[in-house]
Point group: D3
Chain length 298, copies 6
């Protein structure tokens, strides 16, 4: 059960209204790397988790992320507070209002016109939050790696936001939120390595013919060797002929069909067959002028 | 530049038509953990990457994932091939066709009716692929962790699909694709640790007051200690009073407003003020019968 | 700040595994009328709300909805628990596994293959939750009406789910959740009518020429009179000629253009002008057989 | 059957081109509270409605909303008309064109580059319209409440747009559209209350133990009493201990498993068990520098 | 202005309830090739169209498509009508209800549980309709081609649905709708070829060096010649060396940077540089067991 | 199998950083008419295609489109390269950074804050790419028309982008990409007309009663005759009475119900019946002030 205490986890002190900055901060409210994504990622893992330790940790962190959602949302709400009245009450002249919500440095018009200067669950480009952002698949050796990566991403987006504001109260609160992502990443790393072994993830071993192969698929000026394809660990295959049909077959695709399936397929093929020797007049021929003639591009 | 060789990277031999299985395999074609997501994840990282080693590796692996997209797509196409003709040609009786595309063990009706028994870029629930699945943010210490996690997830979904089929050709091809995820994870791990230091990701250090704190937000029967909150590494805060307003403030949110902003806000507040001592009759009162009376539920 | 207590708000007792029912229950977990939508709807309203009474109420109810999210999620997790192992561990035969996840009465294959028999934030059709479900606009006389409607909808979806299961523990927990929607609707109704006046919502009065008019746009057999178009309250306009251009103008659309705008528009028009007297041969003519001839349909 | 008359329902007179304003007006064309959402909401209700009176009303209003879609779309088209030529014909210098479509006060570049200065079904943030905006569930006591709320929201967004323009023709047409939402709300209210009783919505009564309870989930400075939790109507529960496990149970979640289910679950648990007493070295340890050391943030 | 006549454009006679078939028919109601997509595609083109002939045609066909939306929606509503009562009224036993909405041949559970057996604007996989389906770009020589293609697609999906039902009334109504797509395609073809020239679309001529070149990018067994790459019309380039950097340059990408830009880029590069000669221990090394060892797959 | 050569298909030379232009170019990277949509459209058609000629052509063009994706992505990456460092390294003052990413002529803040100045798969309005953009249905006479239209659209969007930049290297590369769309359209036209007949698409003939009818649904000032409704080809029906119920029936919708279905439907109808003679007091009545009274609008 969740309960709520009216004190925020971190006090929010904003120097003055700034809907443009509020808009950027939406990235961490309703954006893909934001706090709702974090909270829901861990919460949904927690309710299906049977390992008591991980379940407890996931609930601890999910709950904290909800509290962070409240902090970042409160930052947005404070930055937008001065913009709530004018549009709602229509006190200012229209031209002033129009200029204020569409001016340079302010891409907050969706937040203002559609959401009334509130804190919508969108990113800074007004894309609504979607659970497609959550990549939980229900296997802890994968999910913990996903969590580690998610914390790293959130940490970076906070860095960028911190670099964009000189409001000390906003900077300080963002710094707190950023720091907590570091701490959470540490916990998830500990939890991952408390599963032994954890690599390869899951139950099946890889096929030993292919588990240590590195296919050098991109060739030309710029080929580089490094730890990721070092021959002490990987068998590097650069020969184009050996990169295809690595099973030793002919590299084709086939399926066994019943007679009835084959017949209906032939009927479809006959109806839509392409005549390779036709010289058809086409719609483009009908509609074309002298293409490639002198034009503005040249 | 991409070029194409008609041999698949792995030969596809499917025993017989099975649109229901084809539908499940769509997870790795147009699903969130599938090969298009992998290919596009690494490709988009590659074109913005300035480090020559990582750029080369990302292009190598992106290109291989495109070749895997072709393998899994070919599996889907072969499993659906027998179903292409009947609906297109209308040769069978309607009742037979209806039964075949909606029968138990077969949730492929969207693929058949809408996509003509092809290989659509959807997951097995017919949700169209979206770039919201890609979590690249343009910082290598975060993106490489995202790649590691993505490979772990893809490996697991392949495991599950392998567990669902006894067609030896399908099983073998899926085993190859699964194994390659292991190899790619290894390469991404090497690339991450070739950046020193790589933790915490990004440039800013955390605030030392909060970087090693563990907030025990979820309490009650089921609290567990483990490496993720071990007191040798973390300062665990369980006291509810110390979990809020950790900055030492009052945990409230505030903003400086101009006089004009404050006035318009007051006008809005006055117009929509809630009378806390009202005893209003409501629409629910108008419309209610005896609520809570005896009903079917009891 | 949110905190968490490990006791659920309502004890969950599930008789036995039932992934098919779990799938249906996802409607109230990650579906449009579900508990995440409710929690986020009220939470986002709360953080931008300046009226102290409404803010408190919104936080109370948002927090309770999060606790309901946990209850419905726990129901899903329990119904899926028996399905977690087989696919992950691959212990059963493939044919058995395939039959179990695709059998009649069970449309949970996405939950199992993609989400590992967890509790994903999708609806029962596997569509990911989206913030597009939330219709908050930041004006209390509108938002409270939206909340009233949302509670009504959630109540009904719970009714339908209750009608579908005979597991007494599931039925009882769903009954609790359903009942709470009734209580919340009551509170939101009280809060709406504590604003006086609250109709029409917002600040601007309507144009008196059109505020009490009912346009009888759909005509023919089936025209009915009722309170919604009663002549004591509405002026009903059925004459087709009076339904258009109600401002008294000519019903056309026009704009003042600068000379430069007009010139470029004319250039575009000239380039793409349609020759109304042409008798063109078309691509369809090129490609057609005798259309309308005897076919299978007749 | 729908038929069309070329006269608009309201004459559109636009003073001059203004793609920036056109962009904002898209909220009511292809936005969540716009006219397509309204038209489709009522139309889809109408075709499944069996009550003759409601069916007629829903068709009347749906048809009018389609006519409103045409009015708002015509406003957008007129405001964009001057922008149609320059980009299509490439007559102006590139720098001029670039400045015009990306200048301050103009966030219409998507409309221009992608949609050719037309009227796309997106909101003002270029998010495509989605049927996820429609919350119809097929129960009239819920759907009518949804309609009432939708009309209230649309009325408010029109208010905001009216506040943003001083073009008298645009203002007047928006005023007409806004007023009609008031009239429609009245009709839907009448239709709701013509169903007796209409609260609680649906068929099942609530559980009397919980139907009049108010859980005071959010506590701290800011707790307020009001009609929504008045003790004359609600039993307020503030004691944290009484807020959990309200059924009198232990607040846990459980399910009956078959022996086979339990065994496979144990196998999965054993494979992924977390060792709570481990002191693992982690990837973060490998990759870390002195975290918490002096950094730019401090 | 749209007006409505209660007579459908085509009479709907359905033999009996069939929610499974209703679900499939949703493809043409709320699916990508369905009638809403058609109506909105032409309607949005119409309101921005300045050519009087095309504008009239687009309004004619858009209006007819709305009438088709009503016909297909009425088919869905009739097929679902028998399912409306049981779930709403809870008269049958739970097991019966559950079996009926999840049984083989019936994937309509979303329509029933979430939408109350109505006619939701989703496709048959329950994916909500999105304006992303509409590809209008505001240039008639492109839009008319898009319309021609859209009519062809809709015609085919109707064919498939006709093949799936033996209910004569459903078959006949679908046959009418299918036939109208043929007629509409003819009109759009005529309109396209009434623009002279219409190919290449738009204003700019192509670069003559590349306008008639065919790059043979996919090579191997299966290379075929046909009209699409016939040497009488196309210059076919099969030499891999001539397929890249076709401008004669080196095929690299570069940009001019300011000194300040170059410096900050170098700082970022230094911080995240990859050490190509490192032999790092990785997280995978820490967490691995003997990979490639004997496993279940072999 | 795909393989990669590090030379681009067209050399990319960008004069200088320009994130605002990069943002516009995203339309052809991750937008609906962009290169990923093109590549995936043809690739997915190819893997299900059985006709050897079309399969080869689709693979040739799909592969080239992937190479174009790389070219346009490289343009975006170069235009953004100068912006990569400042935000990542936080070297500049906050106010400078804020101004640069939100300034007039630059709507790239999502690309910078969320995606680190990379090349995300979104359009220029930050909407993530979705497979809903792909309209393949698995019937060649429809799919080839879709491809023809798609190439026409892409050609036009390139035209618009070319008109917006005076950077000669960008202009030249865009000109190459635009030209290739012309060439591809030609090939698809040839392939369509190599199928004989190809109209009407598919197998079923239309119903001759309706295949040559033009319903004049939109009437009033502005009715135009043209080739699309010329009486030599079409039977034009303008009489409103003949436009409805064209089958000769009564234009109603009906279904056969079982007794049990009818009974439960009646129970639902009785519960929710609307009383057409009621004069109910409504929530709006409770909450209203004098509507239509003097207000700001007048």
């Amino acid at each position: 059960m969740f309960i709520h205490n009216k004190r925020l986890q971190y006090t929010v002190r904003v120097a003055g209204s700034n809907p443009g900055l509020a808009n950027l901060l939406l990235e961490q409210f309703g954006g893909p790397q934001g706090e709702l994504a974090a909270a829901m990622r861990y919460f949904t893992q927690a309710i299906s988790e049977d390992d008591p330790g991980r379940k407890d940790m996931l609930l601890d962190i999910a709950t904290e992320e909800l509290s962070h959602l409240e902090v970042i949302g409160s930052l947005v709400a404070m930055l937008n507070k001065g913009a709530k009245g004018p549009l709602a009450e229509g006190i200012d002249r229209e031209a002033t209002l129009y200029r204020e919500i569409t001016g340079a440095g302010n891409d907050s018009h969706v937040t203002q016109v559609l959401y009334g200067a509130g804190a919508p669950l969108t990113n800074s480009g007004s894309v609504p939050w979607t659970a497609a952002y959550i990549d939980t698949i229900g296997e802890p050796t994968a999910d913990l790696r996903s969590n580690i990566a998610a914390e790293a991403r959130a940490k970076i987006v906070y860095e960028r936001l911190i670099a964009l504001t000189d409001d000390p109260g906003v900077k300080e609160a963002l710094g707190f939120l950023m720091t907590r992502e570091i701490a959470h990443q540490k916990s998830f790393e500990k939890a991952l390595y408390a599963i032994e072994p954890n690599f390869p993830p899951g139950k099946l071993a890889g096929d030993p013919r292919f588990a240590n192969v590195y296919f050098d698929m991109s060739q030309g000026e710029g080929d580089v060797h490094g730890p990721w394809n070092d021959q002490s660990e990987f068998q590097v295959i650069s020969d184009r002929a050996q990169q295809g049909a690595v099973d030793g077959g002919d590299g084709s695709a086939s399926v066994g069909l019943t007679d009835h399936e084959a017949e209906t397929l032939e009927a479809a093929a006959a109806r839509t067959q392409s005549n390779p020797t036709a010289k058809p007049i086409t719609g483009a021929d009908l509609g074309s002028t002298l293409s490639g003639g002198p034009g503005r591009l040249q």
